[in-house]
Amino acid sequence: MNVGFYLTSGDAPGYVYADALVRSVRAVMPGVPVHQFTDMTSPSVWGIDATHRLPAGPLSMLRSAHYASVEGEWLFLDTDCIVQRDVRDVFDESFDVAVTDRNWPHVPPLDESFTASMPFCAGVVFSRSPRFWEGVNRIVSLMPEKDQNWFGDQRAMCRLLATGSYAFKILDGSVYQYPPESDPFDAYSPVIVHYKGLERKKYLMSRIHRELALA
């Protein structure tokens, strides 16, 4: 399995988060290669195994193009994730793509139309199908520019999965993509924590400072 994350220099704080992400992967899955997907000029995060570069483009276009360019078993993560346990056994099962649901009972409910159009969150995705991401990329290429520059790939991912043309597995979001509501959060220990949204970035920074102090 490989771990990959998308990060360009336009997201400066992302370098701080990605550093913590990489350290978390090293801690729980030593030997698993970590890759950065980026444009032609953005710096690489220190300590990663490989940097994949493609010409700059809208966020969702470039990210899905990267995901479509790699073969094998991949865990694609947002930079604001922390991996807390080994997840390689997810690939013991057969699927093209494994996504997480939004089973987050501790979080205030999201707008129903939002969750209906995007029932899965693309911050954590297990994939062994470049072809699936080619499809996502082609759908995003037809979307309005604002979608291409934001979460068009997540929207396209959900819609392509809904066609039933790819084998996919749904993972429990409270386990594989847990959005904490505080730092530190309660004793419950999810596999992957996702500090999505502005408020949770404060929790992530708090955690980074705390763990660096202990290191």
Binding site: R138, I139, V140, L142, A156, T163, G164, S165
Partner: protein, 217 residues
């Protein structure tokens, strides 16, 4: 693995070769199995017909698809040169759009290739399609019409020659007549038609079959 696109091709009993070539060309270029259905008027719940037997039956495609998934309709006088599954990103990117066509200036040509988002076309019931008061070709039955690139309905004899055409539409007639034999893509159409009528030798195909002795006797 489910293929979320089905293909329907108009059928006119006066010219079965047209349908056969169109269907074969779709199947040959598809990268995954795609169901292909003939629109034969005598099998359908309407009797309404126009210049061809499929003038109106094409609008039954969403109904015949159970108003689910995506369906591509083609006139019989077409030749497909690309993977029809390449059209799928359009309805997925624009899920509120009911039907996608090439927006030709010749508006009556637009319905000759239609990509339906079937769930958005529930108004196209057999009763509605049968009713002669409903003009269907102007697509006025929906306000949600999307566009696909011109290569997906290349009008031979009207559009400028395009070697990259994906669906060739011999709207002035398939190249079986002296009047149309020199049309753009005529040779490609004939290559498919000839292949449909061809076979390897008896020995090559049946030589190792259990039936050989019976045939020789």
């Amino acid at each position: 693995m489910k293929v979320p696109l089905s293909v329907y091709i108009g059928y006119d009993s006066r010219q079965p070769i047209a349908h056969a070539v169109a269907a074969e060309s779709v199947a040959v270029h598809a990268t995954r199995p795609v169901p292909i259905t003939s629109l034969r008027l005598n099998q359908l719940p309407i009797t309404r017909r126009g210049l061809t037997e499929f003038t109106y039956s094409r609008y039954l495609v969403p109904y015949l698809s159970g108003f689910t998934g995506y369906s591509l309709y083609l006139d019989s006088d077409t030749l497909c040169r690309a993977d029809v599954l390449d059209l799928l990103p359009y309805p997925i990117a624009y899920p509120e759009t009911a039907v996608f066509v090439v927006p030709h200036k010749l508006s009556f040509e637009r319905p000759s290739v239609m990509l339906f988002n079937n769930a958005k076309c529930r108004m196209l019931t057999p009763d509605y399609v049968q009713d002669s008061r409903n003009g269907l070709a102007n697509l006025s039955w929906t306000p949600d019409i999307g566009s696909i690139p011109p290569a997906w309905n290349h009008l031979v004899g009207y559009d400028l020659p395009n070697p990259a055409a994906k669906i060739v539409h011999f709207t002035k007639g398939i190249p079986v007549w002296p009047e149309t034999k020199d049309s753009e893509f005529s040779a490609e159409w004939w290559a498919v038609a000839n292949r449909l009528g061809s076979s390897v030798s008896f020995q090559e195909l049946m030589g190792k079959s259990v039936h050989v002795q019976k045939v020789i006797q």
